[in-house]
């Protein structure tokens, strides 16, 4: 018997088994992060860099100034540079932020931000490294009067640790008093239209009207997306998790690492909306003594505790962790980028899914420049956003699309076939703000179908649609009335003129009172007829 054919022993197998580094895992599963094809990869890199810049600026309460440049170096090879006026990054942090996957400040907290796992930008660095072998070059200036740190970074794939190829301290390289600039060379493909970087930046500009973004495309065109308001949206606060939104694994981890001495204190300190009474009730329901040490619970007790936490009646989680765009600012954003004749926006009150607060905002832009598509009966354009990030891919898998398509649009004056998006000169915008957006995958392309979320989206969009219908009705009424009026104004003088001619009479006749009488009468008759029809 040959060695190869011999059955493996547990020892043999143990030799082959080893931990897989996260970086290695993502090298093999790049599609999970939005790098499935070259055109999408290019967009993802832009997106991750812009998102980071916006997050950083807003956290530091700075009105964002962002410059994006995509340069074609050779066929299918692009250099992407994104520079911001954010607070910059401290020297020691730079390598880990850009060259270590799952490193970041956003994963461990419950507060609304664009990034949430700390994967995006380092995944871009990894992708560059895998496709072109080039390191990412980071410039950072954290102090107004300080110098600029320059890093050439790669990721050690096996260890998921940064690999610093070069470090430097230079005098200039950042335009603003503080800021960060990242430059990445990847293999990619530049496309125009719907999934283009242009579209992404334009949509970003709509929901971030306080940001000023400049974009230079590979074809050399420069687009300027001006700032519409000098005010950032409300800053989100960090909150503790709500008992309803906790899963067993997280609870166990929290129980182990807490500094609280007993269960009662643990519940009150680590969760939101839990006071002494609620804590007592939870323990009573779980059959666990209040004074037990958190670390001492058995697995069975941990499960009981979780069940009890979710059964007890509690206030909804606080919603100041949310940062909606706001009706006003959203309208500003839409009107600066879209030349429509009617724009309406709405921000719903916060709501909760699985114990996690979220808030829906919606907007509808109607008519104007959108009307040029009317003859073709094109579908309305649906712009989806999550935490102020445009979602360009996977519309059909997204709860937003599902919610918007399930509205009966004919009621609101638009054509619709089956359960599709409506047709007409319309842009529908939906934004979900949440401390934890339930994406369907790590590439953050679509929102998962939570009934609470779908319901809120529908209510928001329906309210906008209702306002749009009122506008359309008023427009058609005004149009019809003017039309009717002009018919009378045109023909009554002709009636009088020809009657005089026919009768051979030359007396002067004042026509105005007759027209006024006719129009007044006609209006009354027409309105009462309209009421009958309703």
């Amino acid at each position: 018997m040959k060695k190869e054919d011999k059955a493996k022993t547990a020892k043999d197998m143990a030799l082959e088994q080893r931990a897989i580094s996260v970086a290695e895992f993502f090298e093999k599963n790049r599609h999970l992060l939005g790098f499935d094809n070259p055109s999408k990869a290019l967009l993802t890199v832009v997106k991750e860099a812009v998102d980071n810049s916006l997050d950083a600026c807003e956290e530091a309460n700075i009105l964002p100034e962002i410059e994006v440049e995509i340069k074609e170096l050779e066929e299918n090879r692009y250099k992407i540079t994104v520079e911001d006026n954010g607070p910059g990054i401290l020297r020691d942090q730079i390598p880990r932020i850009f060259a270590k996957l799952l490193y970041g400040s956003k994963f461990h907290r419950l507060r609304q931000s664009r990034g949430q796992q700390g994967i995006g930008i380092s995944a871009s660095v990894l992708y560059a490294q895998l496709t072109t072998g080039h390191p990412a070059i980071i410039y950072s200036k954290p102090n107004k009067n300080g110098k600029v740190h320059v890093f050439h970074l790669k990721i050690d794939i096996l260890k998921n640790e940064p690999e610093i190829l070069k470090e430097d301290l230079i005098e200039s390289g950042i335009k603003h008093p503080t800021g960060t600039k990242i430059s990445i060379i990847i293999e990619g493909k530049y496309i125009q239209r719907y999934h283009s970087p242009y579209e992404y930046i334009k949509q970003t500009a709509i929901v971030n009207p306080w940001a000023h973004i400049k974009y230079k495309s590979p074809t050399g065109e420069v687009f300027d997306f001006p700032r519409a308001v000098n005010k950032l949206s409300k800053r989100p606060k960090e909150i503790k998790p709500h008992p309803y939104g906790v899963e067993l694994g997280i609870l166990i981890r929290m129980l182990k690492s807490t500094k609280s001495r007993n269960i009662s204190a643990f519940l009150q300190n680590e969760f939101s909306r839990v006071g002494a009474n609620s804590a007592e009730e939870i323990c009573r329901l779980a059959g666990i003594d209040l004074t037990r040490k958190p670390q001492s619970l058995t697995h069975e007790e941990q499960e009981k505790l979780l069940k009890a936490m979710q059964r007890v009646k509690l206030m909804r989680p606080p919603t100041d962790c949310l940062s909606p765009i706001g009706e006003e600012l959203l309208r500003e954003g839409l009107s600066k980028e879209i030349n429509a004749e009617f724009i309406t926006t709405i921000t719903r009150d916060p709501s909760v899914y699985r114990g996690i607060p979220f808030q829906i905002e919606a907007g509808i832009a109607y008519g104007g420049e959108l009307k040029k598509n009317e003859e073709t009966g094109e579908q309305a354009k649906l712009m989806r956003f999550a935490n102020k990030i445009p979602l360009l891919y996977d519309p059909s898998g997204c709860a937003i699309t599902k919610a918007v398509s399930s509205i009966r649009w004919r009621r609101y004056g638009l054509e619709q076939s089956g359960n599709a998006l409506p047709r007409g000169p319309v842009i529908i915008l939906v934004h979900i703000a949440s401390a934890w957006v339930p994406y369907t995958s790590e590439s953050k392309e679509a929102i998962a179908n939570y009934p609470e979320i779908i319901k809120e989206i529908k209510l928001a969009v329906q309210e906008c649609a209702r306002r749009m219908l009122m506008y359309i009705r008023k427009q058609t009424r005004v149009k019809r009335e003017t039309q009717r009026l002009s018919i009378f104004e045109n023909y009554i003088p002709l009636i009088i003129e020809n009657a005089k001619e026919l009768a051979g009479i030359k007396t002067k006749i004042d026509i105005q009172p007759i027209i006024e009488k006719v129009v007044k009468k006609d209006l009354v008759a027409h309105e009462s007829k309209g009421k009958e029809n309703n």
């Binding site: 018919i487 023909y491 002709l494 009636i495 001619e501 051979g504 006749i509 006609d522």
Partner: protein
């Protein structure tokens, strides 16, 4: 047309304009009342034996969005016609009027001819005059042959006299002919013939002399001009009128329109119909009696017979109703020219005198 009539027509047209001006002067929203020409206002008048228009009227108001344009157009058309009447020698056809409206501007021009036709009929109904009288003339059609002298102004305005025997194929009946003054007429009767073939036979066989008659070629369904001339000969010269058609329900109905008018022209039937006219044949009975070469009645023919049996114009005439029933029995139809099987002269020498005698007895 005589000068007096011209004045009457002009006045009638002017009245339409005056009523509108009067209302407008008093700041009222002007309207016009027009006799309704819809089917539910067309009634058979047993006294005059023709379809006439009833008492219902419709209102056309400047305060109604759907009326305001046609009302303006109607006044423009009436005004245009008044000018035609005044000019005396100018006439236009319905089609012509439709094209003339192009020159009235975007607001008043007619988009389709039925719109202008409808307005002309409204004016006819309002002033109770056929459109010939306000110079919107029908197309010529039909011819007249016989010892009849007519006086008229030719298109250039020259007074002319014509004797209808001094023509090659008979005198074509157009709008001027139908209103021409009857100067001399020594005939005793009018014979109206459906087909040109039989009309020619009658001319060549000197039927006008033999029957002391004026021959009229209907060329199928009689035009308004022809019906008008027949009526005037009947009314002014008291000539009895005999109508000779093909032996089928369609031929009979050609005669009926001359006698009682058509529903479509109910508002002016009094000017066009000749209720005393008589249908000679070819009758259904003739087909049997003279053993005429015949065709089977088709489904459409039988359907037409059923319709006609319900028509009040037939219901009031026992003889015609009987003939319709006979057709249904024998299920045969025959053309006028089927009589030629007995030779060229037979129809004039034998058939027609016999029929005439029969009719005049009654």
């Amino acid at each position: 047309m005589k000068v007096k009539e011209k004045k009457i027509i002009k006045k009638k047209l002017e009245e339409i304009g005056k009523s509108v001006v009067e209302q407008a002067k008093n700041h009222k929203v002007p309207y016009l009342r027009i006799p309704s020409r819809t089917t539910n206002n067309i009634v058979f008048d047993p006294k005059s034996l023709c379809y006439v228009i009833g008492n219902k009227t419709i209102m056309r108001s400047a305060g109604n969005i759907r009326h305001v344009k046609p009302m303006a157009q109607m006044l423009k058309v009436a005004s245009f016609c008044k000018d035609l009447v005044e000019e005396e020698l100018k006439h236009e056809t319905k089609r012509g009027l439709y094209y003339i409206s192009e020159s009235w501007g975007e607001k008043l021009k007619f988009d389709e001819q039925p719109e202008s036709d409808n307005i002309i009929e409204d004016i006819e109904a309002m002033i109770g005059e056929p459109r010939e009288n306000f110079h919107i003339i029908p197309n010529p059609g039909g011819a007249v042959y016989g010892d009849l002298t007519l006086k008229f102004k030719n298109p250039s305005g020259k007074m002319m006299k014509i004797n209808c025997l001094q023509t090659a194929d008979g005198q074509t009946i157009g709008p001027r002919m139908s209103e021409a003054e009857i100067v001399e007429c020594n005939a005793k009767r009018v014979i109206a013939i459906e087909t040109s073939g039989m009309y020619n036979r009658f001319m060549e066989e000197n039927a006008h002399k033999k029957f002391n008659a004026i021959l009229v070629n209907l060329e199928g369904q009689a035009t308004r001009a022809t019906r008008r001339l027949i009526k005037r000969l009947n009314e002014i010269k008291k000539l009895p009128v005999y109508i000779f058609t093909d032996g089928d329900p369609w031929g009979l109905h050609i005669a009926m329109v001359i006698m009682a008018g058509s529903a479509k022209s109910a508002h002016i039937n009094k000017m066009l119909a000749t209720p005393s006219a008589k249908w000679i044949g070819v009758t259904a009975t003739d087909i049997k009696k003279y053993k005429l070469r015949s065709d089977k009645l088709k489904d459409v023919d039988l359907k037409r017979i059923k319709e006609l049996k319900k028509d009040p114009r037939y219901r009031s005439d026992k003889r015609l109703l009987e003939e319709l029933k006979t057709w249904e029995e024998i299920k045969k139809k025959a053309e006028q020219q089927a009589l030629l099987k007995y030779g060229l002269r037979y129809v004039v020498d034998e058939y027609f005198p016999a029929k005439l005698k029969e009719m005049e007895k009654k």
